[in-house]
């Protein structure tokens, strides 16, 4: 970032004579402002301004190509409340939020514990821990589009990997049209989200476990603690901050899910709205229906949803830290 390495600008006007302490203070502020200004300007232009524009557009009927937009007040938000497809989308996002982060964190914690302390003596990881660590991290290195396409193939009901394996081991009865059955499709998408997320959180938790002083585990072992008790009483409480952060990140992924749904699912968003997510509704409303004002309202709703979620999750964190 070349902007950040620019020479620091001094205050333009020569400072009037003043007490020396005051001048020192001023110079300090000048440096801070000079250092912050470039980043702040970029932030204003590329982050704050689009948000502000979206907030404004959500109160208009802009169609995306007109030079002007008519102000319609809160009509767009009133419509949202009666838009059955968007309500489906909220429901599906909430279901993802309820299950996906918990499952990803659970599996991630399990794998991390196995890698760090899963060995027979309870002091080291399982055999080949290093290998598993790398293999489980693989999905993280694939772009989400590739993940979606590959899993689309795997879910193919006729020659896909999953039904192929089921049939090969004689479980023909379990073979399904995974993405085309309303009751299964969202879970099929969720499984892909978990698969692609677990590796990263495993590495994150594994590093955090590694940072816990060995003496604590040693003491627990001497006291005759079982693996499960050690995990519950020592590892988990000491990882609380990491888990909390993971939950916030994964929650945001769950409230999005646009790319996977768009590429993998029937319709997309189907069958019959069963995998619709807010991001997809927003995209379709803007780019297929040409209703950018209404789509912006969806974006604003999504923004507040995410904000509330993040506040609640972090507030929980604060309370518990105080207790500790």
């Amino acid at each position: 970032m070349s902007v950040l390495t620019r020479p620091v600008e001094r205050a333009a006007a020569p400072a009037p004579p003043a007490p020396s302490q005051r001048r020192r203070l001023n110079r300090g502020y000048g440096f801070v402002i000079g250092a912050l200004a470039p980043a702040l300007v970029l932030h204003l232009i590329f982050i704050v301004s689009p948000y502000a524009q979206a907030f404004y557009l959500s109160l208009t009927d802009w169609n995306g190509v007109a030079g002007k937009a008519n102000f319609v007040g809160f009509d767009n938000f009133a419509r949202l409340a009666g838009d059955s497809l968007f309500l489906d989308a909220i429901k599906n996002n909430l279901l993802l939020l309820l299950l996906m982060p918990a499952a990803t964190i659970g599996i991630g914690l399990f794998l991390a514990t196995m890698i760090q302390r899963g060995g027979a003596n309870g002091r080291s990881g399982v055999k080949g821990a290093r290998f598993y660590e790398i293999v489980f991290f693989f999905p993280q290195m694939l772009s989400v589009a590739i993940v979606a396409v590959l899993w689309g193939f795997a879910y193919n009901p006729n020659n896909g990997l999953i039904n192929g394996v089921l049939r090969a081991i004689g479980l023909d009865g379990l073979a399904r049209s995974w993405l085309a059955e309303p009751g299964l499709a969202l879970f099929a998408v969720m499984a892909v989200m978990i698969w692609s997320g677990v590796g990263f959180y495993m590495v994150l938790f594994s590093a955090a476990i590694d940072a816990i002083p060995k003496e604590i585990f040693e003491a627990a072992l001497i006291d005759g603690s079982t693996g499960w008790t050690t995990f519950r009483r020592i590892t988990l409480p000491l990882l609380r901050d990491n888990v909390q952060v993971a939950f916030v990140y994964l929650g945001m992924v769950a409230l999005d899910a646009f790319a996977l749904v768009q590429i993998m699912t029937v319709g997309p968003g189907g069958p019959d709205g069963s995998t619709e997510v807010m991001g997809l509704s927003l995209y379709r409303t803007a780019f297929e229906y040409g209703k950018f004002g209404y789509a912006s309202a969806m974006g604003v709703a999504l923004f507040f949803g995410t904000l509330v979620f993040a506040l609640v999750a972090l507030r929980g964190n604060k309370n518990r830290t105080e207790l500790a």
């Binding site: 524009q53 169609n63 995306g64 007109a66 006729n158 993405l179 319709g267 019959d272 229906y289």
Partner: protein, 468 residues
Amino acid sequence: MSSHEISRRSMLRAAAVLGLSVPTLAACVTAGGNAGQQSQGGDKSSTNPFGVKADAPLEVVVFKGAYGDDYVIAAEAVYKKQFGGSVIDHKGIQKVGDTLRPRFVAGNPPDVVNNTGAGRLDIAALTQSQQLENLDKLLDSPSWDDPNVKVRDTLLPGVIEDGTYDGSFVRFNYAYTAWGLWYSKPLFEKNGWMWPQTWPEMLELCEDIKKTGVAPWTYQGKFPEYMTDPLLVMAVHGGGMDLLKAIDNLQPNAWRHESVKAAAEAIAELSGKGYLMPGSEALSHTEAQAAWCQGKAAIIPSGSWLEAEQKSVTPAGFDMVMGAVPSLSSSSKLKTNAIHAASSEAYLVPSQGKNVQGGLEFLRMLFSRNAMKDFAKAVGTLPSVKGATEGITMSPALSSVAEAVKKAGDDTINYRHRIWYPTLTKAVDDAVAELVTRRITPAEWVDRVQKAADDLAKDTSIKKYERK
């Protein structure tokens, strides 16, 4: 996570700044205005009916998809010769909408646009915002090949209607697409199967096909609109053009017409009798069409782009051809050969372009018979002017499409509601997917679709059009 201490005062201050800056910042998006400069014309003449200024530069932006943009570049060479010294800025791109949306908003669009492909611009929205030139004067100008014939009279049926939005002709479509049911001609000949004219004959044929161990039908389940097409065609066969008009004009209970329900029952029957390849409901168009090309299924619904799309996976000697969707009964109100046909590859002339006259003249040339013939030869697709395929050797697929269009004559079915009302289109297609998988009955399908049409008719935020 370290917690940041943000005081209430600083929070309020930030909010106030944000609130004050909203109107100013928002101006960025929609500040373009429709006040583009008027393009300057030159002298008019019989060979230059719009009065193009000879040295005025022309900017052409085309979607570069399956059809490529070589035919456009060839036409540009002719244009350059005609107007010596004019510079042509040619861009062949994908994602036309993303690229051009900001330029339309800023009042600085190119002179000619081919608006096709995924992520294209919304033409209805452009029309409502007065961003597009009315092309009536182009239709009434002498055609490039014969000055005694107007451009209007060189076109295939439906092209003008397809391009008319709210009474003004703004969209000039270059290609002509026909929809139907596709099969391998040699496969049918080998088995002695004849293409059915009525639905009972189709069911008999399916029974025969099933006996050979091949699935009679497959479809592109991931995109259920492929199955909507035969359903609507059969409905219109029974209900005639009046039904089509009633549906397009969102008339109350239009979808409750008996022939709509009969068509839904026919489609449900296909799956009920096990004539659909298992798993089709989850297949993408690529997967379903590949299975069909591999001979796992005999019949698939699609449009005339299918041959080009399947080029790399079609085995030699497969010789795909298109058959018309059969009529439900012999009392069809249209010819039994009536097909769904419409024009596509939308050319537009933005009204805020710097060289509108040049844009019109360029289209007059691009829609000449010679340019069209080159296009048909190069991409194997019907162009939208009459007689453009005469004298060129066509593949079995293209000649079957050309023949089907000819046989159907004026009985070409083209539904407008799918272009005007994308929300209704989605509701219909979602419901078709449920119908084909038999999760809803034909009666429930009718109820759902009628409700979607009624909701749309009541929705004042969506502009309504009328089919005359």
